[in-house]
Symmetry: C2
Subunit: 129 residues, 2 copies
DNA sequence: CTTTTTGCAAAACCTTTGCACAACC
DNA sequence: GGTTGTGCAAAGGTTTTGCAAAAAG
């Protein structure tokens, strides 16, 4: 049950930390393979899951069917371009008040939080058409 | 390109309409199979996708890796129990203002809307422990 | 030496798709 | 009869998992 050091896990962690574009497991795999040519996709998934479980990464699901990973673990909102799928962090405070607002009159249980992503068209896609 | 009637599609539509628990394709399949024992999962998927495309259903993605379908097509928020996965509709007005609030100072593109779901623990799971 | 991690490959899972036949209009 | 929809089965894409060997402590 104790965590042992592994060079692969460290490389995976560092890669995600170095990026701000919320890479998928496959992107992590492609890149970490430059340093570890024999690393397997299974190892990448296992470590991303582990790092997310211990809170060093966040797994974000944006409805595109693929998991993205984010090195920023503090709660924040995301912007997703409907056209190209690019993901940006939003510098917009988490609306804690909506949780209690939504809870008012809700009889089905206790609301602990919410997940939101904003969608639209990114700068580049707006420029193109 | 014209839509032709099909008894299977009608049964699928009616089943989803009759439920307020946001069934998955598999649940629809299991149930419609009582009336059409030979219906295939492919047909269920094809029709759910078609009905969502023409606006008779909504496809909702709640981060559990499976698509859910909702007969209520007016925008509304959902509550998801983190423990058992049950989904409830929330009687809480859509926060249109947050879109423009989030857009303020955002340089990455144009925000058209947002997707939110609230999570927590449902009544039953709260009672259990 | 014991426990954890890896690489590989297979499997699991959800969803889509190609095709011949059936249903619809 | 022409077109759309179905059933079946196969394939697609993402993620998980079993297992023997390797690495870590």
């Amino acid at each position: 049950m104790t965590l042992k050091y592994s060079r692969q896990r460290e490389a995976i962690r560092e890669f995600v930390m170095s990026r701000h574009d919320h890479p998928t497991a496959d992107v992590v795999y492609m890149n970490v393979r430059r340093e570890f040519p024999n690393i397997s996709l299974g190892t990448v998934y296992r470590n991303l899951t582990l790092l997310a479980d211990i809170g060093q990464l966040t797994r974000i699901r944006l409805g595109d069917g693929v998991d993205h990973f984010d090195a920023i673990t503090e709660p924040h909102y995301h912007f997703v371009c409907k056209e190209c799928g690019v993901v940006y962090d939003l510098d917009f405070p988490i609306l804690d008040t909506v949780d209690s607002e939504a809870d008012t009159g809700f009889e089905g249980g206790r609301i602990d939080g919410h997940i939101t992503y904003f969608y639209g068209k990114c700068k580049d896609c707006l420029a193109e058409g």
